[in-house]
């Protein structure tokens, strides 16, 4: 592995005059108490997976180039050169053994934002062209085709057309629609490209909810992808470009609210990171579909019969939606109304363990075994609930949970929130 000329650019990230960055780079006291917060350490017992080791990788490079002690006596404070060995370790630990779930951050004894520093480290690696090729190809597809799976527009339209026919049959109304590219609507709805590709029923479920609520909504064929894998790769320019496209479609269609599909990192990257990538606030409202469904229920725009969902249900909270997105009560309120037997995992909510599929892990097949091992904890949590159905408002989590289901033979059904709501809808 050769460190290219962009090493200086990578290092310049660490010397940015940004209070948050400087604070977190200087705060870790290496107490090691974050170890038990991390699924990678807990599932393997390997010391190198301790969150503090990931922090130290980034901050030791910072110390080497930005502090007097690090420059004069590097050995005293473990200040490291950004050399090939360091870069290789960074790639392995920051991409390959962190989902950026932020669980360690919330529990750090000092308050170091560990997942943020991992992201900073990834941004450095992205500057040096060290993003794993598997993850980069997902970003490339999004930049090139407008969605991370490279689905052609014709294929999407075909899928939406047969879903629309199904919807009309299901609700017994030939005017029921899945609108496309309509302007001046209340809602522009987004999709995770996994939906049209592999899980079209979740699109039907959401369309049925929109139908029941009498909503004015649309999808855009130009830009419907809620995901932003550049958030995970650390490439700021690409992340900005992806966020810009969705924002611009909102303006073009003059929609009032952008509703983000069930996707943890997609919600995070557009709602929370997007305006910062673009350095300007959105002039429209941005909410998740979880908040929207909860709103419909509270306003009486949809009604549910929970006796239609009799099997025991548990909830997997996507880290980006709950810990880093503040959405905690809404999904619980929905499930209390949509299912008869809801049971929490332990721990849950803000403390929930990551399923192992975040951080771009699902895209990086080279770390697949590690990812499945890291998911072991989630498997235990699920088994302890005795649930038959695991609901999660995130397509990435759905994908990881499905793989865990197969590997660890959990015998559960994995569903999105919209799917269980659609099953309980009273029309």
């Amino acid at each position: 592995m050769v460190i290219n000329d962009n090493k200086e650019k990578a290092l310049s990230i660490l010397s940015r005059g940004d209070g948050k960055l400087q604070v977190h780079l200087n705060s870790c006291v290496r107490c090691g108490l974050c170890a038990e917060s991390c699924i990678f350490y807990l599932s393997t017992g390997e010391e190198r997976y301790i969150p503090a080791r990931k922090v130290d990788l980034v901050s030791s490079v910072y110390r080497r180039y930005n502090t007097i002690t690090g420059k004069l006596v590097p050995g005293l404070v473990k200040a490291r050169e950004l050399d090939e060995v360091t870069v290789m370790e960074m790639v392995d630990l920051l991409y390959g053994s962190c989902t950026m779930c932020g669980r360690c951050t919330a529990h750090c004894s000092v308050g170091v934002d560990i997942s943020y520093l991992v992201r900073v480290g990834r941004a450095m690696l992205a500057e040096m062209g060290k993003v794993p090729s598997t993850l980069q190809s997902t970003v490339d597809a999004a930049i090139r085709t407008g969605n991370n799976m490279g689905i052609p527009v014709d294929e999407l339209i075909d899928t939406l057309e047969w879903l629309e026919e199904d919807l009309q049959d299901d609700v017994g109304d030939s005017s029921a629609a899945i609108p496309v590219n309509k302007s001046n609507v209340s809602i522009l709805y987004t999709l995770n490209p996994r939906e049209p590709k592999f899980f079209p029923l979740s699109i039907s479920a959401m369309a049925k909810i929109f139908y029941a609520a009498g909503e004015s909504w649309t999808l855009s064929t130009k830009m419907y992808d809620v995901t932003n894998y550049a958030y995970y790769s650390g490439n700021l320019n690409e992340a900005r470009e992806i966020a810009r496209r969705l924002r611009d479609v909102m303006y073009e269609l003059n929609a009032r609210t952008c509703v983000l599909a069930e996707c943890g990192h997609g919600s995070r990257s557009f709602r929370w990171e997007g305006p910062n990538y673009l350095q300007s606030s959105y002039s429209f409202e941005t909410i998740t579909s979880v908040e929207l469904i909860s709103r419909y229920l509270k306003e009486g725009r949809i009604r549910l019969d929970k006796s239609l969902n009799k099997e025991r249900v548990t909830l997997h909270d996507p880290c980006n939606l709950v810990r880093s997105g503040g959405i905690f009560e809404e999904q619980r309120f929905i499930l209390e109304n949509a299912v008869s037997d809801f049971v929490e995992m332990n721990p849950y909510g803000y403390d929930n363990y990551c399923c192992g599929g975040g951080g771009g892990q699902l895209a990086m097949s080279e770390y697949g075994d590690r990812r499945l091992k890291a998911g072991e904890l989630k498997v235990k949590q699920i088994k302890n609930t005795g649930a038959i159905i695991v609901v999660t408002p995130c397509h990435n989590c759905v994908d990881q949970l499905m793989q865990l289901n197969q590997v660890y033979k959990m015998n559960v059904k994995i569903k999105t929130l919209a799917e269980v709501v659609a099953d309980a809808l009273i029309l």
Binding site: G17, V23, R30, L33, D113, S324
Partner: protein, 207 residues
């Protein structure tokens, strides 16, 4: 004024200047800027960050490691006490004898806690691997200074030893991780602001 007091005053000035440099550098960078639409209450979250979020009821690093957490709390109480004692030593204010002995007792306990933390760092493999010389030096210096302060309060050592030890510690603070004296508060503030902006902290009452 004795030479050793002068030396410790010089060290105090250097330490303060360095801490102020770090503090004002952070102030100059300003409050966190965020272009997204705020969902929660940053003020309440910052308060929570310094209070509820630190409690052993909520913080995993505390409730899973109660002995270390308790030792750490004691150790830090002792550290703040040494600072207060040092600053008061430089004035004409003197404590009542009974208070001197209470302080000395607390300092002995905190220094024992610090020793325990040091032993843990040496003995536990995963901590040893994480550590660098600064971790050991910082701990040894602070712990020793707590013992020395306790001995000073009980009249067991010379003042010169105390002031020289204070000077060495003060000069070391800006060098390594002891700077977290400044950064700890900034980190809790930043984290509270972040979670507050997004509505994650303070956590829902239903949690």
């Amino acid at each position: 004024m004795q030479w050793y007091i002068l030396i410790s005053l010089g060290a105090l000035a250097i330490c303060l200047l360095s801490c102020l440099y770090h503090f004002f550098r952070l102030v100059r960078y300003g409050a966190p800027k965020d272009f997204s639409h705020k969902l929660g209450n940053t003020g309440a979250a910052i308060k929570y960050s310094f209070t509820g979020a630190m409690s052993p009821l909520k913080k995993e690093s505390a409730y899973l490691h109660l002995p270390t957490y308790s030792a750490g709390m004691f150790y830090h109480i002792g550290t703040f006490l040494t600072i207060i004692v040092f600053l008061l030593q430089l004035t004409v204010i003197r404590f009542p004898v009974v208070l001197t002995y209470i302080f000395a007792f607390i300092l002995i306990l905190s220094a024992i806690s610090g020793t325990g933390i040091l032993i843990k760092r040496i003995v536990v493999r995963r901590l040893r691997k994480l550590s660098c010389p600064d971790d050991y030096i910082s701990n040894i210096m602070v712990t020793l200074f707590q013992f020395i302060t306790a001995f000073l309060l009980t009249g067991l050592i010379y003042q010169s030893v105390y002031y020289i030890a204070a000077a060495i510690l003060l000069l070391y603070i800006p060098v390594g991780k002891l700077r977290h004296l400044v950064y700890f508060f900034a980190a809790r503030y930043q984290l509270g602001y972040f979670y507050g902006w997004r509505g994650s902290w303070p956590p829902s009452k239903k949690y």
